[in-house]
């Protein structure tokens, strides 16, 4: 079976500063993968390198066995990748409804499991805010919208960068539930989050970054075994 | 004398006034080429600088021609504001400045100077005779209109001077902000006043737009349109049939029946591929004037006083008819009444023979 995502030897720089030092990992179809690390270790940079937002200087990214390293971002996303960025990426001049409508599309297989309606059912809070502009939402509402906007593109791989940041406990739980649902429907996810408690239960595969290098990469059972080591990487 | 005669030109070669600058230069060069024999073997050197019709640059360019290029003649400009800026630098100097267009009154009025000549007109000249023409046609109530700037206001005042002196009444004077060309509101108002005639000063693109609007809104044929001649100079092709019948006064007309004019028009057309207009004539006359002065001095123009004297005494044999210079160095010339027929300015009569500008305020 071809790997869904295969990241090989990424070296990424911001100007002169070398951030990623050869990041390697892969994701199997249907898997949920966590990417952990302390602040500033390069998690977001890894995601951005995969998506081509910050082009790596060397290394390869393969999606469904296909080389996507040189492609522009939008073409990669067209291969059914969706991204919930850190900081949410709201459009200040679009209403909630428009955020969803503009993004909605069927995936490459022509399936459309997630529609605007379904997103609004999942996050009733958004239903009430339909005509608010993106930046007129509360922090948590923005987060829900960002996830909803990613879902309506019906991705194969959903990439979440700190998606539960700033969410109330109940909603956070809801989001985790949504991610579980997504996972069970066969969509792969790559999750950057702080909450190791949830991640160790939710994800099949765990990756820990320290200073732009993968220092730990294994399945859940191994994680339990070497929990102390991982926690020390994370500074818990 | 091996030194070439340096002719500096400060004219607009781009923008709204570009066409005027082009025509002036064409005329000037053509004249000097034709008169090459008179120059006593002296070569010519042209220094051409685009003023962009920006008055605030004028002193600097003028001083560049004066001090850096050390031109013998400085020709320019088209725009009155630029003329003022040039004057500031050149007035009272030895180098000769010849204005081939700008009509600003002060140039040969309060600010006149021995070394400053004008081959064109003062704003007063072309418009003043129209007052009498209007009265003769029996118009009693007239609306006047122009852009709200020096030349426009001076033209309207000159018209009003002769028109009211003869008993006419200017019922309304409309000053349009320069360079606005939205005339519809004003024309609607004129229509509601319904005067005996309308007298306007507009030039270039504004003139085209005005004449077209006047026609499109149906005023033409109902209220006669009179104007200072620039209304139909260099613009007739663009105005098309809308200009037919418009009556103007100017110191020139395309159809002036003299040999010089015919020859000038044919060779200009042949050389530059388009019809000549008043601006070309003014440039041409500037050339003639220079040539004749150089000739008179036997090619030696080093004595500036002699040069100025020679220039002041020339009679320019121009396509517009011979003219001389007044004490203030403004042309004393015929003003013709013209009307547009078949896309040409036809002479009807001489509206004022050998008209001299009153040169108010000039002490020369």
């Amino acid at each position: 079976m071809t790997k869904l995502l295969d990241v090989k030897g990424l070296h990424t720089y911001y100007g002169e500063s070398h951030i990623l030092h050869g990041v390697n990992f892969d994701i199997q179809p249907g898997q949920a993968v966590s990417l952990m690390g302390r602040n500033g270790m390069g998690k977001t940079t890894t995601l951005k390198s995969i998506l081509g937002l910050v082009p790596p200087r060397s290394g390869h990214v393969l999606f469904q066995g296909e080389e996507i390293t040189g492609l522009p971002t939008w073409q990669r996303m067209r291969k059914d990748i969706a991204y919930v960025p850190e900081g949410r990426g709201m459009f200040h001049n679009l209403t909630v409804k428009e955020h969803l409508e503009m993004a909605a599309r069927a995936n490459q297989k022509g399936e459309q499991h997630w529609t605007c309606e379904r997103v609004l059912e999942t996050f009733p809070r958004l239903q009430e805010r339909l005509t608010n502009l993106g930046t007129q939402l509360s922090g948590g509402e923005q987060q829900m919208l960002a996830i909803g906007r990613a879902l309506v593109t019906n991705p194969e791989l959903l990439i979440l960068d700190e998606a539960t940041e700033g969410l109330a406990p109940l909603i956070r739980k809801e989001i985790w539930d949504v991610i579980r649902t997504i996972k069970s429907s066969g969509i792969s996810t790559l999750i950057v989050d702080k909450n190791i408690q949830v991640l160790k239960e939710l994800c099949d595969q765990h990756i820990v970054l320290v200073k732009g290098q993968v220092v730990f990469s294994a399945g859940s059972s191994q994680l339990m075994e070497s929990l102390d080591e991982v926690e020390s990487y994370l500074g818990v | 004398n091996e030194q070439p005669i340096k002719v500096g030109m400060m004219l607009p070669f781009s923008g709204v006034y570009g066409a005027l600058g082009d025509a002036t230069r064409n005329g000037l060069k053509m004249a000097l080429r034709e008169q090459a024999a008179q120059l006593h073997g002296r070569k010519l050197e042209f220094i051409e600088i685009d003023t962009e019709a920006r008055p605030e640059r004028a002193p600097e360019i003028a001083s560049s021609l004066l001090n850096n290029s050390e031109a013998d003649f400085i020709i320019g400009p088209v725009h009155s504001g630029v003329a003022m800026g040039m004057l500031k630098v050149l007035r009272g100097k030895e180098t000769v400045m010849i204005v081939p267009n700008a009509g600003a009154g002060p140039v040969t009025g309060p600010l006149c100077s021995p070394n400053v000549f004008r081959t064109s007109f003062s704003s007063w000249q072309p418009s003043y005779p129209m007052g009498k023409v209007a009265l003769d046609k029996g118009y009693k109530k007239v609306v006047t209109m122009s852009w709200n700037y020096g030349m426009g206001k001076e033209s309207l005042d000159a018209f009003e001077e002769s028109f009211t002196a003869g008993g006419g009444e200017v019922v309304k004077k409309i000053l349009v902000p320069f360079p606005k060309t939205e005339f519809q509101a004003y024309l609607s108002e004129i229509a509601s006043i319904n005067p005996d005639a309308v007298f306007v000063f507009f030039a270039g693109g504004g003139a085209v737009k005005f004449v077209k609007d006047y026609d499109a809104l149906g005023l033409k044929g109902k209220i006669p349109l009179l104007g200072s001649g620039f209304l139909t100079e260099g613009t007739l092709e663009a105005q098309g049939p809308a200009a037919e019948g418009v009556m103007t006064t100017l110191h020139y007309a395309d159809t002036l029946d003299n040999e010089l004019n015919k020859a000038f028009r044919t060779s200009y057309k042949a050389e530059f591929g388009k019809a000549s207009d008043i601006y070309a004539v003014q440039g041409y006359d500037t050339g003639l004037m220079i040539a004749s002065a150089v000739n008179q001095l036997g090619g030696d123009i080093s004595d500036q006083q002699a040069l100025i004297k020679a220039l002041g005494e020339t009679t320019v044999k121009s396509p517009r008819g011979d003219f001389t210079f007044s004490a203030a160095h403004n042309p004393v010339q015929n003003i013709y009444l013209r009307t547009v027929e078949n896309g040409e300015n036809k002479v009807i009569e001489v509206a004022a023979p050998a008209l001299a500008d009153p040169a108010r305020g000039c002490k020369l």
């Binding site: - | 070669f13 781009s14 220094i47 051409e48 600088i49 685009d50 920006r54 008055p55 605030e56 004028a58 002193p59 600097e60 001083s63 560049s64 004066l66 001090n67 850096n68 009155s80 504001g81 003329a83 003022m84 800026g85 500031k88 630098v89 600003a104 002060p106 600010l111 709200n148 700037y149 020096g150 206001k153 902000p177 320069f178």
Partner: protein, 320 residues
Amino acid sequence: MLFNKRTERIFFWVFFPLALLMPLFLAENTFFVSKLTSIMIFALFVMSLDYLVGRCGLITLGHAMFYGLGGYLFWMIAPEYEAVNFWVYTFYICMIAAAVALIIGFLVLRTSGIYMIMITLAFAQMAFYFFSDSIEFGGTDGLFIYVKPETSIFGLSFFDLDNPTHFYYLCLLSLFNTLIFFRILIRSRFGRVVDAIHENPGRTTALGYNIFVFRLMSYVIASALGAYAGYLFTLQYGFVNPSMLAWTTSGSALVMSILGGMGSIYGAILGTFVYEGLHYVLEHLTEHWMLFMGALIIAMVMVFKNGIAGSMEKLLEKRT
């Protein structure tokens, strides 16, 4: 440290000594001396704009209003045929311009961004039409000024304004002082707040600064200096024209300051000299100077990421 960048210091030590010696080389050619003088005057104006736009983030398309005002004010307040003192009138003009700027700034600084560009433009256009439409101020033909002030301080006179070379040095001194003044301003605690406001006004308010007052002060300072430049311009040829106030004048100044490198202050000198230099050379070379000028401007935007100053810094700072 007054200049915290190496490029800045290099520029300083190249430009000013050169400018100081220039008239010696150009002794016979008074035109070039006065041409350089005009460029320096305009550079001073561009510099005041650069401070506003580049340092304070207050983009205005109405700065020429003060440039023109400097000229017209002189005509208005100076007795027509009497000798007046240059320094005294400099003071008057800057003060009156500052007062005008205070009032206008009070109004325009309520807006920001593009809205501010447009409202400054609106005021400048009103002033432009005021001067072009009124006969008392010479209308579109402008005015001649016959006063040449004398420059004595306590009876000692260093400059004779009728002498182009002296006038050149006066303008050079003014430019030098303005540069130093802005550098001191930027380096100061006041400058810190100005930088902070530029980068994040909301946060600066939240920290307890009344950003309006800082902006207003900057606006007043820059406007007064703009008026001073206009005053110098007027003195050079004794001529004022409403086109000094036209938006195209503001536009050209903006172009020069962007070209030089926004916010770098010394870039204003670079930008003005490069632009005016090119203009001069091209217009003497060809009638189609506009084509080349346009193409060159386009090429320069593409090549210079942060204006000429920015690109020079990239070259020179890296090695340190």
